[in-house]
């Protein structure tokens, strides 16, 4: 026998193994080749009679025959067995509903707050907190609100007594933080605010704001622009653009308002942006030196920016919610969409 004859034998054995249609047929193939009286033991015995030059190759081919046929027989056996299990099993329905507790959902307002915290944490801002029931000093006076400013009216503000009110903005947290600490200050303060607005599609007497304040030796309007732009891209999408318009607020000077380009239509104009391509977001500015004086900071040695944004507004824009009342109606069919 020649080494090449062993190769031919292997080819034939593998064909037979692959063709075996039952466990018995498979066993017959095994016995024929690998059994005690099978063809492989014959070959092994015949090796010593071969030409010395041919022997190593023939030995290697014989081992390959044993190995490959063994693997093929095993694979074939597994295939035959699993086919027979499948044939004997009742039909299985893999489309039945799953059975594991589903995740719940965070309220869209909470999601926006959590996301804002994540974004500003990345810039080194920490989260600050203040009470809902505020003093007139923190909510108005210290923020340079004129004594007869209409926002102080009982028409606009919920007063509990002549000293205490429900905060109309999260800005009083700025004051509390600065009163308690020297610069640098780098905080955001999410929280509930209250105004005597009659509820409609865009107004709610309870709403949330996120206040931001950064005070250090040299903070600039450019820093404000850069940080707000970063926030916009993280919150709404990497291609969102921000534009700034001068505005007026008593607690900042210069003051700006800023708009985001519409993330829904990419600025082409759609329902969300009222076909303008831009969405008005909120106000910001450089902290008014008078506010610094009110908290005992020296405006000559520090500067800072502040912003306040409406959380509901951002949530409505981000998720395309048309009516603010949906956010407080707590219809599970609505809330589950935000899982």
């Amino acid at each position: 026998m020649k080494a090449n004859d062993i190769q031919e034998l292997k080819r034939q054995a593998l064909v037979e193994a692959a063709a075996a249609a039952s466990a018995d047929a498979l066993e017959a193939v095994r016995v024929k080749y690998l059994g005690r009286k099978g063809l492989l033991p014959d070959i092994m015995t015949g090796l010593k009679d071969m030409e010395p030059a041919e022997r190593p190759l023939a030995g290697r081919y014989a081992n390959e025959l044993k190995q490959e046929l063994g693997d093929t027989l095993a694979a074939r056996r597994d295939a035959l067995e699993s086919a027979s299990r499948a044939a004997n099993r009742a039909p299985f329905d893999g489309t039945l509903p799953g059975n594991w507790r589903a995740a719940g959902s965070r309220h869209p307002v909470s999601q926006v707050i959590a996301e804002a915290i994540r974004i500003f944490h990345g810039l080194g801002f920490t989260v600050a907190d203040g009470p809902d029931l505020e003093t007139e000093w923190h909510n108005f006076d210290a923020l340079n609100t004129p004594a007869d400013h209409p926002s102080r009216d009982t028409q606009d503000t919920f007063w509990l007594n002549d000293k205490t009110l429900l905060r109309t903005q999260t800005s009083p947290v700025q004051i509390r933080v600065m009163e308690g600490r020297k610069p640098p200050v780098r905080i955001i303060a999410p929280g509930r605010c209250y105004r005597r607005d009659t509820t409609d599609a865009t107004h709610s007497a309870n709403f949330h704001q996120i206040e931001g304040l950064y005070v250090d030796r040299q903070v600039s309007l450019a820093d404000l622009k850069g940080d707000i732009t970063h926030f916009a891209r993280e919150m709404m999408g990497a291609d969102v653009k921000v534009r700034f318009r001068p505005h007026f607020f008593p607690f900042t000077e210069p003051s700006v308002e800023y708009d985001f380009s519409c993330h829904m239509c990419k600025g082409a104009g759609c329902r969300v942006c009222k076909h303008s391509g831009w969405i008005e977001i909120s106000g910001a500015g450089m902290v008014n030196p008078r506010v610094f004086k009110n908290v005992g900071y020296d405006p000559e040695t520090c500067s800072g920016y502040a912003f306040g944004m409406g959380v509901e507004r951002i949530a409505m824009i981000k998720f395309g919610i048309e009516d603010i009342r949906l956010l407080y109606e707590n219809d599970v069919r609505f809330l589950e969409q935000f899982t």
Partner: protein, 811 residues
């Protein structure tokens, strides 16, 4: 502020600048343009019609048959529903075939059976405004048959500008023109106020006395005689109308026109009605009464400023004229007031009396005390030109203490640092000059400007920096990539820990809700919540929102009910929020809480949700959520030896809101952290919920106290564990926690786990008793336990339970 562009173009050239471009420039310099309106049209098909006859409509009370003349074309009959139609008036007629601005085509039609050959139009139908208050009255001088376009055309563009409260100087055409000039680099032209003065000086006849110069620092009176009251010229009426002010008569229209032009409110008195022909400016006496133009008697205080004649009040300063002193059809001699009143005083009076007007709007924000004279001259010149007035020489100008000139300095380096741009001194100076801020001094380090009286907003250096920023353009300020800056030693863990509670509950499968802080008495009453410690709003918006919630639970249950009524049979909700209480000393407290509510078979597997859950089942879900929450929030486990037991412990308690026997205080390692239980059935039934509702309300800060604890790693036991079961027959009153405590008393360190795996009630256990089966796991840190050792521990525990709880061991 409405800015008709054709009018604005009188003061600053708008050539080559589209309305959109102009609007953008203004918006991005701080004057937000809220809208660009195009009013009017070429008025094709509209002609001036003169009403010659008005007769009733035979079939309709509110309609009239109107005959109109229209010059050479001959008369027409139209049906008209306007209440103000009258013989002699001139109105706009749309003939058959005319297309209205809204697209409607006027067709020959019968209206209630009578043919109408056209339509007489109101302002909205002409596209001039949204007013539909009867026919638009055209000037009496308009000639019937004239195309309306010669009277009202061409189409006009109006910018609607939102002027921030700090910029009263922009509440005028000239103020806006100044801004436009600065932005476009174009000059601003002011109209001439050369006066054709005649006759004796005004001061020879009229007099002014200011008794309270603090509230009225300046009062200028001019004298105009021989005035012929009539209509103002059509161009003026049209401009007023475009700006949103109704034309009344030439004298009144001119005061309004000048106010819109320069921002300074004026008032015209009929000199006949001014006793003594003099003006006295004084505050009202306490309780003094005056009747204003609108016929209302106003009771005043010394905080209200009045304009009086020699004997009595004739106007509320800066707010409204008196009933008798105004311009009448036969007024001949006019005293023209151009005064300056303190903003605070006008704001107070306007607010307390609820009277607002174009005049109060400007005075309360701050008029131009030095510009008052120009305004008076301008109005006098227009009255000479358009009301036949003879202008007396000079004016009576009571101005006791002219204000000192104000200067402000901008230091360049701090300004550059604050803006983040290296702006040059020359650019800063150019910006100031373009805004009419005269440069008093400048050097390499700073620029000092004279602040004009009309810029009431410029009071500190930061205000000048803002001027630079907005004219320089915020777009030209860079927006560098943010740089993270950490502030050491500042921790925000308490706030973030609280937020973690919500995250965990959502992860446990609950849906977060947000309710209002305000709630109603009715709702709190359902929950038997005591009114004594409630925080009530003195000025609520509605009766449903009168109390600051003392608990999150009532609204959460209400929310479950609302979802139930919307065919939502099951819900697992939570809210994290603040609650409020009033302490005995009247002070307020607020606390952060979290509330959980379960309705329906939420805890069951997906296909097992048919059939209402039992109360015990609902309670177990609640317990499971609380245990998962405690684990997620790293509340330390209760520990004894090697045994770790979950928190919380629910200690039975009778609660006002819980079903008797199904309420519990929630203990975290012995500390009370809230309440949990099954809601009283009668409360659930308020919302038609029949099945058990599981509710818990917890203190968020106590729950979250350990969020930032670092879990300490323990080695995985190296030796195998041994399980032993025990089934106990105990009286129904014995609770799981009692058994656990009995086990703990005698447990060796090797006890690793106690797991309840079955509860059985049945005849072979006996009435009033139950069988509870536990699997106990023993394991040593030091060696493999032998059967004998495990049995020894187990038997000691069994004996302990038997003696403690009168339990029987079930074979």
């Amino acid at each position: 502020m409405r800015i008709p562009l054709s009018w604005l173009n009188d003061y600053v050239s708008l050539e080559g600048v589209s309305p959109k471009e102009l609007a953008d420039r203004l918006t991005f310099s701080g004057l937000e343009v809220e809208g660009i309106e195009t009013l009017g049209s070429d008025f094709k098909g509209f002609v001036v019609a003169g009403v010659t006859a008005v007769r009733p409509h035979p079939n309709a009370d509110k309609l009239r048959l109107v005959t109109v003349e229209r010059g050479a074309e001959g008369p027409l009959e139209v049906v008209c529903g306007a209440p103000n139609v009258e013989v002699g008036m001139k109105a706009a007629l749309a003939v058959i075939g005319t297309v209205l601005p809204d697209g409607t085509v006027i067709k020959a039609a019968k209206i209630r059976g009578v043919p109408s050959s056209g339509m007489l139009c109101a302002e909205d139908e002409l596209g001039l405004s949204d007013k539909h208050e009867g026919l638009m009255r055209l000037p009496a001088s308009a000639v019937p048959g004239t195309p309306l376009s010669t009277l009202l055309g061409p189409p006009e563009t109006v910018l609607v500008v939102e002027v921030t409260p700090n910029r009263p100087d922009c509440l005028s055409l000239l103020g806006i023109a100044r801004e436009v000039g600065a932005l476009l680099g174009r000059p601003v032209k002011r109209p001439s106020v050369e006066l054709p003065e005649k006759g004796p000086a005004a001061s020879a006849r009229i007099g002014v006395e200011i008794r309270d110069p603090a509230l009225c620092p300046r009062y200028i009176a001019r004298l105009l005689t021989g005035v012929k009251v009539g209509e103002s010229p059509a161009w003026m009426q049209k401009r007023l109308q475009l700006a949103g002010i109704r034309a009344i008569s030439n004298v009144v229209d001119i005061t309004n026109y000048v106010m819109l032009e320069c921002g300074h409110p004026l008032h015209a008195f009929d000199l006949r009605r001014l006793r003594g022909e003099r003006i006295i400016v004084r505050t009202a006496g306490e309780g003094e009464v005056m009747k204003t133009l609108d016929g209302v008697e106003r009771k005043l205080t010394p905080r209200n400023l009045m304009i009086c004649d020699a004997e009595r009040p004739v106007a509320l300063a800066g707010i409204m004229g008196g009933e008798e002193s105004g311009i009448a059809a036969d007024t001949a001699d006019v005293l023209l007031e151009s005064a300056y009143f303190k903003p605070e005083c006008i704001r107070y009076t306007s607010k307390t009396l609820g009277l607002t007007s174009e005049s109060t709007y400007r005075f309360e924000r701050g008029a131009d005390v030095l510009g008052a004279d120009w305004a008076g001259r301008r109005a006098a010149a227009l009255m000479a030109a358009h009301a036949g007035a003879t202008v007396a020489a000079g004016a009576v100008d009571a101005f006791p203490r002219p204000p000192e000139k104000r200067q402000l300095t901008l230091r360049l380096d701090p300004a550059r640092a604050l803006l983040g741009v290296p702006i040059e001194a020359a650019r800063v100076e150019a910006i100031f000059r373009s805004l009419e801020l005269g440069i008093a001094r400048s050097d390499a380090a700073s620029v000092t400007v004279e602040v004009p009286a009309f810029r009431v907003d410029l009071t500190q250096e930061a205000d000048l920096i803002e001027e630079v920023a907005r004219i320089y353009g915020l777009d030209n300020i860079p927006a560098p990539a943010p740089s993270a800056r950490l502030v050491p030693e500042v921790t925000d863990r308490t706030v973030r820990a609280r937020l973690e509670v919500s995250r965990q509950l959502a992860a446990l499968g609950l849906t977060e809700i947000l309710n209002y802080t305000f709630t109603s008495d009715r709702l709190l009453k359902v929950f038997n919540l005591s009114p004594e410690s409630q925080v009530r709003l003195p000025n609520p918006i509605s009766a449903d929102q009168v109390v600051l919630r003392p608990s999150l639970m009532p609204q959460l249950v209400e929310t479950l009910g609302r979802n139930r009524s919307r065919q939502r049979a099951e819900a697992a909700l939570f809210e994290a929020g603040r609650v409020f209480t009033r302490k005995a000393d009247g002070s307020f407290e607020e606390h952060d809480r979290v509330c959980i509510g379960l309705m329906g078979a939420v805890g069951r597997s997906v296909m097992g949700r048919t059939g209402a859950p039992g109360a015990d089942e609902a309670f177990a879900w609640l317990t499971g959520i609380l245990e998962g929450l405690c684990r997620g929030l790293r509340v330390p486990a209760r520990q004894k030896g090697g045994l770790r037991l979950p928190n919380p412990v629910l200690e039975p308690a009778e609660l006002a809101w819980a079903e008797p026997g199904m309420g519990a205080r929630v203990l975290l390692n012995g500390e009370v952290c809230g309440e949990a239980g099954i809601l009283r059935q009668e409360m659930a039934r308020e919302w038609r919920i029949g099945e058990p509702v599981g509710v818990a309300e917890l203190d968020a800060d106590k729950l979250a106290a350990h969020v930032f604890d670092v879990p300490a790693s323990r080695p995985i036991p190296a030796y195998p564990s041994v399980d032993r079961d025990v089934a106990l027959i105990v009286p129904e009153a014995v609770r799981h926690e009692d058994i656990v405590q009995a086990i703990l008393k005698v447990a060796p360190n090797e006890l690793r786990q106690v797991r309840l795996f079955d509860i059985y009630r049945g005849e072979n256990v006996g009435g009033g008793r139950k069988s509870m089966a536990y699997a106990l796991t023993y394991q040593s840190q030091e060696k493999t336990l032998t059967d004998e050792e495990a049995n020894g521990y187990h038997n000691r525990i069994k004996a302990g339970i038997v003696s403690d709880l009168q339990a029987e061991i079930r074979a």
